[in-house]
Symmetry: none
Subunit: 473 residues, 2 copies
């Protein structure tokens, strides 16, 4: 099996200032294509430590992925170590990365200084994968027959170091040999910047490069996304279904507080038709399944609002369907639902906006919640959250709306309304009517402020999803 190691460089990790989230995302992608991650290691910005550790990684695994150690202030140490390790004779300037540096500095209105210019310099043994999202380049080193000496052997390396980002020649032929490794037991090392969005942004190119170089076992995955059934309950309900899966299909649970529990089916070899398994699962947990792959509640809601528009247009014999629109009224969630909805590119087609009514007077003045509702039932009540959903739907003139009112904590709780409790509402006004259909839900959690807010928001989105689903049936 093709193996990998992930090495994170940076004193900031070792002093506990930041959490390394890159390694987890990288290992997930490697795992998806059938590469086994043997270990992950984090080391400091220290030349000797970097050389020693990377040499060990190269000797023990086929693929080494390095992140970090490339910021403008500490650039040199990692690059110098990579130069020594790969037997480079010097540095070359990457013109492609220089273009990115100029563009990024220009956009931010920052004048170029020497430290920025130096970021385009790379060891002459590497192939640059340009990083469009940041000033530090991504470097790949294809080390034919790495054996722990500082000078790699094999013609593959020198032929690929000319600056082209696509391998040619011996690299290609070695892939058709049927072995799961490069000919000569070669290793591949990728050095990525540590900034998470830059590292993750480069990952698709790294994965494509790995797939080109190694003959990996054929694995297909299918992920089913669910919401509303806790992991342990779900495991019990689908136990016999899981037991009946064919030998070559494995199931993994991937719980996420915002997305729900994702169920990943992985099939080793064979054809990749999961339709029978999915149909059986659907018959067991029904509407708890809301999507597949990278779907989340907010993308699925957007898709359903567009579908509502298409259906409406078809009913009116219109050609173009205008998506149904959405607004949000938040109290305890403080803007988080709106943030989730606007994380979807193109959401302006259906999303009009939100009112965060943190103060009661905003509920009354902007959302037109009757003050008697608050004085008799309190702001955290079914009556109030219904009035909020109705108020924002009217004020922003949308087809759907969703509202929250609860106690995120740590303060503000009472025996009847404890910290972690919230009322949620979703509202719908059918086009051409003044009738508003509202559904509500009371939820309770016992977590920290931030986790409570996260859960209130995702449960509210799920309530909205089910409300739209009923109109689509």
């Amino acid at each position: 099996m093709t193996t990998a190691s992930i090495c994170t460089i940076g004193d900031e990790i070792l002093i506990g200032q930041i959490v390394d989230t890159n390694s987890s995302k990288i290992s997930r992608e490697l795992n998806n294509i059938g590469v086994k991650v043997r270990y992950m290691v984090s080391i400091g910005d220290d030349h000797r430590e970097i050389v020693t550790q990377l040499r060990k990684c190269l000797n023990e695994t086929n693929i080494v992925i390095v992140t970090g150690g490339l910021g403008p202030t500490k650039d040199d140490i990692t690059k110098e170590a990579l130069k020594e390790l790969t037997g480079a004779t010097g540095y070359k300037e990457s013109s492609e990365q220089m273009e990115n540096i100029v563009r990024i500095l220009n956009a931010r209105g920052i004048p170029m200084i020497d430290t920025n210019r130096a970021q385009a310099l790379v060891p002459d043994t590497c192939t640059v994968i340009p990083n469009k999202l940041g000033t530090a380049p991504c470097m790949s080193f294809h080390l034919g027959g790495y054996n722990g000496s500082s000078r790699p052997s094999g013609s593959g390396t020198s032929s690929r170091s000319g600056g082209s980002s696509r391998p040619s020649g011996s690299g290609t032929s070695s892939r058709s040999g049927g072995s799961s490794q490069l000919s000569g037991g070669g290793s591949v090392l990728y050095s990525l910047p540590g900034v998470p969005f830059e590292a993750i942004g480069l990952l698709p190119e790294i994965i494509a490069d790995i797939k080109q170089y190694f003959n990996l076992e054929h694995i297909t995955h299918h992920t089913i996304v669910t919401f509303g059934i806790p992991e342990s309950t779900l495991a019990k309900r689908i136990e016999s279904w899981e037991d009946s899966l064919p030998e070559n299909i494995k199931l993994a649970y991937l719980p996420n507080p915002t997305i729900g529990v994702r169920l990943r089916l992985s099939q080793f070899g064979g054809n990749s038709d999961f339709s029978r398994q999915i149909a059986e699962l659907q018959s067991i947990i029904g509407d708890a399944i809301y999507g597949e792959g990278d779907d989340n509640l907010q993308t699925v809601i957007g898709r359903m609002l567009r579908e509502m528009g298409r259906r409406h247009a078809a009913g009116q014999n219109a050609i173009v369907g205008v998506p149904y629109t959405l607004s949000v009224a938040e109290s305890c969630t403080g803007g988080h639902i709106s943030e989730l909805i606007t994380s979807v590119p193109g959401c302006s087609d259906y999303y009009k906006g939100s009112v965060t009514s943190y103060a009661n007077e905003v509920k009354i003045n902007v959302l037109k919640v009757p003050s008697e509702v608050i004085s008799s039932h309190g702001a955290v009540s079914e009556e109030c959250v219904k009035a909020m959903a109705e108020g924002v739907l009217k004020a922003l003139d949308t087809d759907f709306s969703v509202a929250t009112s609860g106690i995120a904590g740590p303060g503000g709780g009472s025996p009847e309304k404890p910290v972690g409790m919230a009322w949620l509402a979703a509202a719908y006004r059918p086009r051409g009517t003044s009738n508003i259909i509202i559904t509500t839900q009371k939820v309770g959690f016992a977590s920290s402020r931030s986790v409570n807010i996260e859960r209130f928001a995702s449960y509210a989105l799920n309530l909205l999803r089910l409300h739209i689903l009923r109109q689509l049936r």
Copy 2:
């Protein structure tokens, strides 16, 4: 210097299912007491891999902290490896941990089964630090003169393995010898459960134990929080100040997209007065400094709004100062600013709420932005963002407001208004006047949608901070 390594055990880490947050928290605590973490490593649930890796850690560092690999279903692998590694002859039952297991299972109403009972068994070379928060015990191994052989030497170990959790005898005398290590170059290994709240809950006892065993250098930290100067520019501007720092004070840059660049001063030995260094830094970068320690923009803004209230009350000879109030109008940031502000417990004292005006009609109808402003200048313009800030301040009746309008991407850009560009505004209406003072800023970034949103939001909060600061002077 006393060194440490942190080893995380668990297949779930290596397949990218969960992010290891324990190592970061542990390394922060070690760093705070002057222990240098040399590396962190994550490995799978595999006997050979565990033994090999931990032997390496014990040979290379004074302190080894292991987390994970102790759940009820996979208990055996880690414990068996620790037994082999520390030369234990067998297992013993920890009566203290058994009490915890019984108590925890009773509280959850779960009957005890063999796998639970087995959790109280530990290698006979260890001292148990009882884990009150979970069923897996915390084990400490004090290995006098560990030298890579599987059987530790030195009387310290055997005298401490009798079950008492406090060391005595030779362990104490070695600490007064002035060396930074145990006599005989001994190592200490702690094995903690992987569940984050259990591991972190045990940390104070681990830290106390380490302080008892090692003579650690006295170290004090002070963190200064800055915003608005990019890391590379900041490094250049404070270069000569950094060079003039006394030998025993070290500087670390800790950039964070939402918080800004934190500068951490660490002093080794001596007294811990950083006031002269901070005053000098202030004279160089002035208002870019906005806080210290764990401060962030939203906590500091809350503090300043409370201070505005106190000043106002003092001016009116009033006893209680009512905090000045804040509202937010968001377009491109979609709710993120409001979310950041409401992440601060107690923010309801000063935060009234927000309007996310994603659609232009919401800008016009709810925020009262004149439609001519949008038709002549566009929604992403200085004129529009000023009108939004003024509109939300009036609609929600607050003292201050902040507003954003920009292009988060990936679509919607144009040559004049590219993706990553935004206009920001902060507004203030002095109490008792109808005059509104507005400040604006244009920013440009070249990142992904989510990072652009994050940066727009933090720059907007910083603009608001500086606007409040001017009123406080």
